[in-house]
């Protein structure tokens, strides 16, 4: 149950922040938003982030295996 906590936290914070932005004469990326292209940006950034995190996790596991090997040997 405790492992679900990060996901719960994320969904909660997501709901807090997704509000409509007001128009006040300053150009923002509303075209990106209205055409849905903003999701492409999000997808790309998320893929990069996930890639980095997965790499670190794999590296972490490799090092843990090595540590275990050396501990068992000695």
């Amino acid at each position: 149950m405790l492992t679900k906590l990060p996901l719960l936290l994320f969904v909660f914070m997501l709901s807090l922040v997704l509000t409509a932005s007001a128009q006040n004469g300053i150009d923002m990326a509303d075209t990106m938003r209205s055409s849905g292209k903003i999701y492409v940006v999000v997808a790309v950034a998320a893929i990069v982030m996930i890639g980095i995190l997965v790499y670190l996790a794999v590296l972490d596991r490799k090092i843990s295996a090595l540590e275990k090997k050396i501990k068992d040997k000695s």
Partner: protein, 220 residues
Amino acid sequence: MKKHWWKILSGCLLLYTVIIGFLGDVPSMAILNESIRNLYFHVTMWFAMMILLIVSLVNSIKYLGAFNLKSDIIAEESARVATLFGVLGLITGMVWAKYTWGAWWVNDVQLNGAAATMLVYAAYFLLRNSMEDEQKRARISAVYSIFAFAMMIVFIIILPRMTDSLHPGKGGNPGFSSYDLDHRLRLVFYPAVIGWTLLGVWIMNLRIRLKNLNNRIESK
């Protein structure tokens, strides 16, 4: 799971940053437009660097107190990851500057100070490399590390506030924090700082463990 919770937290916070950072609501400001979202990436790099440099400083002082090489290893590796974040901060800052100020670099106190700080810490690693004996290397680099931290404070925090600067938050410009960092920004910014810092700690942790493994294999 007990050992890894903070790594998972880092991942969640960073994914949150990357997703909500682009989808979330931000204040509309002239010149900056959407690039204000860079707050979650550029500014967080410097915050993470600061925190890691404090870790490095504390461990340098600890080493000088007890001469335990473990402290020295942490001091070095935290400085290494901090330098990585600093360089990324410089590069992201340059990109941001190009599209808001019109130039990749300006002759500005804050920018020059940040670059100088990176040079100061680059010298720290050069100094370490120049010495073979572990204890001597640890001692001398610990002393240098303390001075390096002091220089960083001067270059990045003190000097820019004393003169004119183009950079937000320095030299009389309102920083994003001085007129009450918009709460919409804070909602992503604070988790992002924690996320990036924890990522730095994760990388540092992996490097230290790898170094310890190598040491153990070599000493057998």
